[in-house]
């Protein structure tokens, strides 16, 4: 398919690379943008935000029922308690809870809206035409493609982020994790679980495989 996200990987001076460089030069020259500010933006989104932030939120919600309640009611002040600032594409964050009865799945069919402050920038698959087109009309098929087979009795709610609201799923805490610390819990939480295309597993698949080989 042509909705790849990285046609120009390893082609440093390809068409887009040159054109973006030209546009940057032009805008810097005109004083519209500042190169140092661009560096700061890149640094922020490449190094400072990412799904580890969302995972911290999830772990806290798992260990602290009152926090969980506050988070589900109004996510922005709740994540602020953890020192997590809001920001572009996340000013109006809503956290939706996965339960044994309801599974939530996040998508943006019209573009690729995504909760940047808690999950960072979206992966290529989230921006793909395949996901954008099918998440709303065939969510169970999509989940199956991700290896998630839900009980047919579980209701699926798909959130199409068509406005300024941004969504994050609060995955279910897996059984057997009662003795784990908050940090250990956070380490279990994957990006996909917070989009709704995965469930959190314990022990994680890699660990389970290693044990199986013992």
């Amino acid at each position: 398919m042509s909705d790849h996200g990285h046609r120009d990987h390893n082609e440093p001076e390809s068409g887009p690379a040159l054109r973006v460089k030209a546009i940057e030069s032009l805008l810097v020259e005109k004083g519209v943008v500042d190169a140092a500010a661009l560096d700061a933006i890149v640094d922020h989104y490449e190094n400072k935000v990412g799904p580890r932030i969302g995972a911290r939120v999830v772990a806290r919600a798992w260990v602290d029922p009152k926090f969980r309640r506050r988070l589900l009611k109004n996510a922005i002040p709740a994540i602020a308690e953890l020192g997590i600032p809001s920001g572009p594409e996340g000013e109006y964050l809503t956290v939706v809870e996965n339960t044994p009865e309801v599974h939530n799945l996040i998508v943006c069919t019209l573009c690729s809206c995504y909760p940047w402050p808690v999950l960072g920038l979206p992966p290529v698959w989230y921006k793909s035409f395949a996901y954008r087109s099918r998440a709303v009309s065939d969510p169970r098929g999509v989940l199956r493609e991700f290896g998630v087979e839900l009980d047919p009795r579980v209701e699926i709610r798909v959130w199409d982020s068509s406005a300024e609201l941004r969504y994050m799923a609060l995955p279910m805490r897996p059984a057997g994790t009662e003795k784990l610390s908050e940090d250990e819990l956070a380490a279990l939480v994957t990006r996909d679980a917070m989009i709704g295309t995965a469930v959190v597993k314990y022990p994680p698949a890699a660990v389970a495989r290693a044990h199986a080989q013992d």
């Binding site: 790849h4 120009d8 054109r19 030209a22 500010a37 000013e91 169970r140 068509s162 300024e164």
Partner: protein
């Protein structure tokens, strides 16, 4: 606009492409493209609705064969011209200069020389506006049955085609946001309530669709009409109520 960007429910795009250990950006130019657009938001050159409209205006064949950041690049180029920041000729001249090595190295040099000094996260898109207390009329209440209007305007609109004419239920009232329609064309700011509307999967995709699925779509009030009102008549359930709910002027306002 009924464009290719409005993909919900389409078939034929194949399996979902997944990547293990995916980097945030896949090429150096993607990094810069992302940052330039965010900086342009920060500089209030255009608003996010204008940017989305510019992406939607990419001809469908080009849209489909471009990567995500290539679409950003095309949209940015169009907006720079539209906003008289840079003409097509200027962009092409800069491209020739860059291609000939005229500006080559300068970006890397700048990057090496300067380290980001700000510890604060860049908030270039104009962070949340302070919430204003204002009475804004609200038409629908939680639990009310509504129909997504069948609007087929050529202008920007954030009402997906797959929901048009379909019946749903108001689940949340998110407060007041800028209606993207006119705003995407550099027009007036129109504030209105935005709701989360839940549509049953069978309502969206037909009676043969499996049960136990629903889609919640965030829709502005003008995209909706009452499902209980008689056709053509203003209904009692559709009458406007004024709430004391705080106006959350949530969307980026052009200064």
């Amino acid at each position: 606009m009924n464009g290719i960007h409005d993909m919900g429910g389409m078939h034929g795009f194949g399996p979902i492409p997944r990547e293990t250990n995916e980097p945030v950006f896949h090429a150096a130019w993607e990094r810069r493209m992302f940052a330039i657009v965010l900086a342009a938001f920060g500089a209030r050159i255009f608003n996010v609705d204008e940017f989305r409209r510019a992406i939607e205006r990419i001809p469908a064949a080009d849209y489909l064969r471009s990567s995500y950041y290539e679409r950003w690049m095309r949209a940015l180029s169009a907006l720079l011209q539209e906003k008289n920041i840079a003409s097509a000729e200027e962009i092409e001249a800069a491209l020739r200069l860059t291609a000939s090595g005229g500006a080559a190295g300068s970006h890397e040099a700048r990057q090496a020389a300067r380290r980001p000094s700000a510890e604060q996260p860049a908030s270039p898109a104009g962070a949340a506006r302070p919430r204003a207390k204002r009475r804004i009329p609200v038409r629908f209440k939680i639990g009310e049955r509504v129909i997504a209007r069948n609007l087929n305007v050529e202008q920007h609109i954030r009402l997906p085609r797959y929901a048009r004419g379909r019946r749903g239920v108001i689940r949340h009232d998110w407060g007041v946001f800028i209606l993207p329609d006119k705003h995407a064309h550099g027009g007036d700011i129109e504030l209105c309530h935005c709701y989360s509307v839940e549509f049953d999967g069978r309502e969206l995709w037909g009676d043969e669709h499996p049960a136990g699925e629903s889609v919640l779509i965030d829709l502005w009030e003008p995209y909706l009409k009452s499902a209980t009102a008689k056709r053509g008549a203003a209904s009692s359930s559709g009458q406007r109520r004024t709430t004391k709910r705080s106006v959350q002027n949530k969307r980026r306002v052009k200064s």
